[in-house]
């Protein structure tokens, strides 16, 4: 899988996300250049972290690590702090190489979940294209049976990617659609089944129950599945993202985050809190609305972009 992911895409990811390390060093470093490490410096770094949606608690944690490390290494100049802070962020982000799981035999089932409008359906479309490009047999399940034209939207993505979509009409039972898709995947020798689901706010218990039912159906029909449950988090989301991760993990055993809309000016820093508090790694990023605007998550680049004073 790595091969396809990295050709071209990865560079684009760097471009749109990173504006690369140089820019980062330029921006923030110029602010910090030739300054001695003092409280003012830490305050400035705090602002940078907070404005990236890292959140208060995680921000404090990072600064604590930074202070400790700076003391240990006897740093004096402020610009020496940046690589250390970047390192601390990468460390919190955890397992940087977290690959997208694949089933050893039978279809790999990927369930895509998240709040309304986060970018689930688009991600399913992009992934369909990716796996197709790797020569995999791909099938989509239109598990959003609620929202107006959700099925039509997924079908449009299916056409773009050249893959079939299992669907029923709007208003039918989501678990039933997924069930159909699982049977189809098994009987047609599908490699990857991508299941779209309706957007739902995590504080709506009945909708989380519905999701849990979908999860259980998958698990019952194919033991070990879903192999990957991707929580789609919109990079512009603030601290609610942490709550989303908590509750979706309970309902559907989330295995990874797909951070979408990283092409926006938002930095998506809440994923650091998600990784730190819940141990859920970021696996993918969405960097646009086009079919190939998806890439594997690169913690180093993410951290650099986050610390760049502007993006």
């Amino acid at each position: 899988m790595e091969g396809v992911w990295q050709v071209g895409l990865f560079d684009r990811f760097r471009q749109s996300l990173g504006k690369t390390r140089e820019l980062f060093t330029e921006r923030l470093a110029s602010v910090l250049k030739r300054r001695k490490i003092d409280e003012g410096v830490f305050e400035e770094l705090e602002e940078v972290l907070l404005s990236a949606d890292v959140g208060f608690a995680t921000c404090e944690d990072l600064l604590l690590r930074l202070r400790r490390e700076s003391k240990r290494r006897g740093l004096e100049s402020a610009d020496e702090l940046l690589p250390v802070l970047r390192g601390a962020i990468v460390e919190l982000l955890g397992d940087s190489a977290a690959p997208v799981a694949e089933s050893a035999d039978g279809p790999t089932v990927i369930l895509v979940v998240g709040v309304n409008g986060a970018g689930k359906t688009t991600l399913v479309g992009k992934l369909a294209h990716m796996y197709r490009a790797q020569g995999k047999r791909v099938l989509l399940a239109a598990g959003d049976t609620f929202r107006a034209a959700a099925v039509e939207q997924l079908v449009a993505w299916g056409e773009r990617a050249g893959v079939d979509v299992v669907r029923q009409k709007t208003g039918s039972d989501a678990a039933a659609v997924i069930f159909d898709a699982l049977q189809a995947a098994k009987s047609r020798g599908i490699d990857v089944l991508l299941c779209d689901t309706a957007g739902r706010l995590q504080n709506k218990q009945h909708l989380m129950d519905e999701l849990n039912k979908v999860y259980r159906v998958i698990n019952r029909e194919i033991p070990g599945a879903p192999h990957e449950v991707l929580l789609v988090l919109d990079a512009t989301t603030g601290q609610n993202g942490l709550q989303q991760a908590k509750v979706f993990r309970e309902a559907a055993r989330v295995t990874g985050v797909a951070l979408t809309k990283l092409d926006s000016t938002a930095k998506g820093g809440v994923v650091i809190a998600v990784a730190r508090e819940l141990g859920i790694p970021v696996k993918l990023v969405g960097v646009g609305e086009k079919i190939d605007d998806v890439a594997l998550f690169a913690p180093e680049d993410f951290a650099s972009a986050l610390l760049s004073a502007d993006k």
Binding site: E47, L50, S51, A52, D53, G55, F56, V115, N116, G117, A118, G119, G125, T145, F146, R147, A148, A149, E152, Q153, V155, A156, W157, R160, G171, G199, L201, Q202, N203, K204, Q205, H206, L207, D209, E210, D234, T236, T237, G238, Q239, N240, G241, Q243, K261, D263, S264, T265, A266, K267, V270, E289
Partner: protein, 476 residues
């Protein structure tokens, strides 16, 4: 674990600390305001906006010689929430109207913010409460099935949708839609535009062009209530390019604190006209700054709840309950009575989310939102003796009583323990809340018979969907 996970909880803790010290030094105020800042940040208020806000409050607090006051804590809460309310306040919730119809309203915003859904909601509102004849215009030619989405929504609410097939550009679509509206006598034209990033200059130019063409009376920026720090640059840039006239805050039915409301208001100076409260076309409500303030402050959307129930509140019962709460005499009997009444109210999760202190009672909220759990709670209380219901400490002290109750209700001892714990928490929170009411805006008084579960309500308020039925979608 965070004991204090909402702003009001934390403020309360801070202020308790302050109160304990008697006299306040400027440093004390600073400390309290640090907590306020922290809470604002956790509510996703932009950090620059939060800083300015703190300065403002500090100025006002000091000006009022709060340092000498005995009820300093209450005064600070009052100032904080008044300032918040003032900052978000002003005229709201009516759409402008063109001297010469049709009135053109354009919705703009980031991808997935909720524009298309909001268009349908606005149209429905115009139709049902003002008897207008809106025309919806499908000017999102980019997102797959965007046009179909709007068409289906139009069907749902019985409103015509103007769309062009083929490769028509937004400019042409809007142009023809306007002509169509004039011919057909539509008095409102609501334009759905594609989601876009505020830094996408080509796409922003498209909007500028549409504005020049259609000369809309309203350009509403739709902002997701869960938006974080970046809300400021989004709002500033859309406003700079287009001159936004108002804001719709979508997805307010989430459990976000919604600090973006303050940020966006601050960045544009525009009123927040409506909030989105569900996925359904009827999920649009006016924006109330005071409610938003208490939500950002983590005090629950108490006022919304009050309004929903006001018509049916029994005054006498309400006062009695208030007294009980003030004296910390709220018992399991009261609790039970409320539980039973609340069953008529509709989706509990929604209801509970509006109550103060709920941040601290997540478990309570989660478990109570589930009818099975509710039955369990009821069974446990029913297995208590009269005396025990009035004096929960009896049960707390005695393991045998707890065992007996568990057995009687067909539950586990741990369930009983859990209920006791939650009940204790609830009492505490209610008590604290009532304390605030006295000094502030009479929150507790206003809350009247709401109690923890809306006691005193007789009927189901208008817009709660009936509970029951296994299909979740009905209750969205």
């Amino acid at each position: 674990m965070h004991v204090f996970d909402t702003l009001s909880d934390r403020l309360q803790a801070t202020f308790r600390r302050l109160r304990g010290k008697g006299r306040l030094s400027p440093d004390d105020v600073k400390e309290a305001l640090r907590e306020v800042r922290r809470a604002l940040l956790e509510a996703d208020v932009n950090h620059v906006v939060a800083r300015e806000f703190i300065d403002r409050v500090q100025e006002r607090a000091v000006g009022q010689e709060i340092l000498q006051s005995l009820s300093a804590a209450q005064q600070v809460v009052k100032i904080v929430s008044e300032e918040l309310t003032a900052l978000m306040g002003g005229e709201q919730s009516r759409l402008a109207r063109a001297a010469q119809p049709p009135t053109v309203v354009m919705l703009v915003g980031l991808q997935g913010a909720g524009k298309t859904t909001a268009i349908a909601k606005l149209a429905r509102l115009l139709k049902t409460s003002e008897h207008r004849r809106p025309l919806l215009v499908a000017a999102d030619v980019y997102r797959p099935a965007a046009v179909t989405q709007l068409q289906l929504l139009g069907e749902q609410i019985g409103t015509p949708v103007f769309a062009l097939t083929g490769d028509a550009l937004p400019h042409d679509i809007v142009d023809q839609a306007l002509a169509h509206a004039r011919r057909a006598g539509n008095d409102y034209v609501l334009v759905d535009t594609a989601g876009r990033l505020q830094v996408d200059s080509a796409m922003m130019e498209e909007l500028r062009d549409l504005k020049a063409l259609a000369a809309p009376q309203e350009i509403l920026l739709v902002v997701d209530a869960m938006t974080g720090q970046d809300a400021i640059s989004v709002a500033q840039e859309f406003h700079r390019v287009l001159g936004v006239t108002g804001v719709i805050l979508s997805k307010m039915d989430s459990d976000t604190r919604g600090g973006a409301a303050l940020t966006v208001r601050h960045a544009t100076g525009c009123p927040i006209k409506y909030v989105g409260t569900s996925e359904r076309p009827d999920g649009l409500e006016p924006f109330y700054p005071d409610r938003m303030a208490s939500r950002i402050l983590g005090m629950g959307d108490v006022l919304s709840l009050i309004e929903k129930a006001q018509a049916t509140v029994d005054e006498g019962q309400a006062r009695e309950l208030e007294q009980k709460l003030l004296r910390n005499e709220f018992t399991f009997d009261d609790f039970l009575a409320q539980l039973q009444q609340v069953k008529n109210l509709g989706p509990l999760d929604q209801l509970l989310g509006m109550l103060p202190g709920m941040g601290r009672m997540k478990q309570m909220k989660e478990s109570a939102a589930d009818t099975g759990q509710l039955k369990k709670v009821e069974a446990i209380i029913l297995s208590m003796s009269r005396e025990e219901r009035g004096r929960p400490e009896l049960i707390e002290k005695s393991a045998t009583r707890r065992m007996r109750i568990a057995k009687g209700s067909g539950t586990q001892v741990k369930d009983v323990n859990q209920l006791l714990r939650q009940f204790g928490e609830m009492r505490k929170v209610m008590k604290q809340f009532s304390g605030f009411g006295k000094g502030g805006r009479g929150a507790m008084k206003g809350m009247g018979g709401m109690g923890p579960f809306g006691g005193g309500m007789k009927g189901g308020p208008r817009d709660f969907a009936p509970r029951g039925g296994s299909r979740g979608k009905k209750r969205r």
